[in-house]
Point group: C2
Chain length 351, copies 2
Amino acid sequence: MGQGAGGGPQPRGGATLAQVAARVGVSLNTVSRAIRAPHTLRPELLGRIAAALDELNYVPNRIAGSLAGTRSALVGVVVSSLFHSEFAAVVEALQTGLLARDFQVMLGHSHYDPAREAGAVRALLGWRPAAMALVGIDHHRDVSRMLGEAGIPVVQMWDVGGEAIDSAVGMDHVAIGRAQAEHLLARGYRHVAVVGSLRPHDARAHKRCRGVAQALAAAGLGEPALATSAEPGDPDLGGRLVAELLARHPEVDGIACNSDAVAYGVLRALRARGRRVPDDVGVVGFGDAEASACLVPALTSVRPPRAAIGRLTAEIILARLEGAGPRQLEVAWDILVRDSTARGSTVSAPI
Amino acid sequence: MGQGAGGGPQPRGGATLAQVAARVGVSLNTVSRAIRAPHTLRPELLGRIAAALDELNYVPNRIAGSLAGTRSALVGVVVSSLFHSEFAAVVEALQTGLLARDFQVMLGHSHYDPAREAGAVRALLGWRPAAMALVGIDHHRDVSRMLGEAGIPVVQMWDVGGEAIDSAVGMDHVAIGRAQAEHLLARGYRHVAVVGSLRPHDARAHKRCRGVAQALAAAGLGEPALATSAEPGDPDLGGRLVAELLARHPEVDGIACNSDAVAYGVLRALRARGRRVPDDVGVVGFGDAEASACLVPALTSVRPPRAAIGRLTAEIILARLEGAGPRQLEVAWDILVRDSTARGSTVSAPI
DNA sequence: TTGAAAGCGCTACCAA
DNA sequence: TTGGTAGCGCTTTCAA
């Protein structure tokens, strides 16, 4: 209270097309065309309009443009989480690809919860996006229904193998789990366990887990020992889970982790318990986080092609918008073999 | 070609308010009020409208709402980069705070480039956001001008101490640099260097660097040795810079890194060269990344209150929008002391 | 090459 | 408690 006008700043918006038109002395839609189809105007007029546009710092109102135009310039993107940065690089590559064609990305988070995912999808759909991209291939039926009814291109990222709503770009997570286990077996580890965060609705994590079991079965071994939790996967969780695992299954000598962050904690806890890596125990991660090559021992991990997934998603969206059909792509990943599984490459039978 | 209709999916949008109204047999704006002010309708009518809304899967068109309404429901956010996840936690906390009040976040990236930052700000302003938040306090003058003219609340995050456009929530980066150096000196390291990515327009990094120099000067020591680069800060860069540093300044025994990722590479390179940490060299990072506590030796680092910065930014934006005045907050950070600087806590003079 | 007019789907205000 | 009406700033026809 007092003499001030009170209240926050008054949004002034910028100049409107009509104001620019009035200043130049032409009609509103001549200015509009000066922006969208400059070649249809006399150069002289175009020059005067450009000058006015510049002078008034005209910034096109995309809200108005979207409402009036036939297509929106927004793409909705739903990721599980940005926090653990699993998907930050995917989003960045996607946004870069889209921005080049003047599409804005709108981000939503599911926090690994189907209800929140549905909420995020609904909220984004309210902005009438031209397309949507989301992490995962298995969704709550409300999500599939809403997305199907929206009648826009939808790209499901990161996973493949489920029933795609429209298009998909991802990895075969069962194969990844299998590869984790096969790598451990090839290095001579026989008692393989799975450690990590396994949220009820994180289908990818469950698939990798299943892949590990498949590989063990194929090798004539029993079920993998499991130490999982629905908590977010961080080093502390890894430490707690491995402690619990070793108490129950002291024979474990190979650990497939559901994320590198968890693997960091696993390595630390093994060290604290005097278990040598890779001599006594082999550890393989998932995600190839930035620090993984700098740990001691350096962590063997699965590297997902994050930037490629983001880039391909952008490409598919743009192509779909121009009339191309849906596509489903499986992208390749690889295992970066480092010291944490460097016990030797021949299968040595236990004494 | 072929028999198909060709073309991508036809965006069908959802049902409109008018369609719902027609179905119930009331006027369009009665339905609008059923959504925004339900208590002003007869319960019976409200029930019928709710049923129709549900049956037609009505999703309000936020584009139309923003254009017609007095205020937009968007907040623009510009970060330097998501990729190195420096700001992912800030954005997530900010988005959570805003979403609770039904504001959508629109993200832009500057990639540590003033021109791209200006481009991102301009692009976001086109959506007529209700407010903007951006990383950094020192901006290209075009950015300050555009933001000032927009007449909306603007919160500058992460840094403080410059001339704020409107509001700010951040840390004193000079003090952080000073603290890094003082910590090293307190642990008995005498020849302190700065290693890391120093992009021309990353004012925060420059301030931390200046802080280190100040602390050395205050202790009667000379300028810090510098090994910096404009490349993105990752472990490989850290490794290369420290190799170059030790070639030029073999006497260095304390290293202040501009990010934890760089520090990871520094630790690895020191190990490869047979320099023991913390005995021969002390290393302190910035950012407290997830892996830092799991390295060997565990990395001493400065921990920024990322979630708090995001949350406070959301609070300030919401308050500003309700008429509160601008605020400038400096938030506290701390140094997590770990093994990489654990040489002892008394200053021991070199022999 | 330019202008006029009709909406896009909604909110805000007024009248009933 | 409800309905009518005038825009928001632009794109998109169509006519001049």
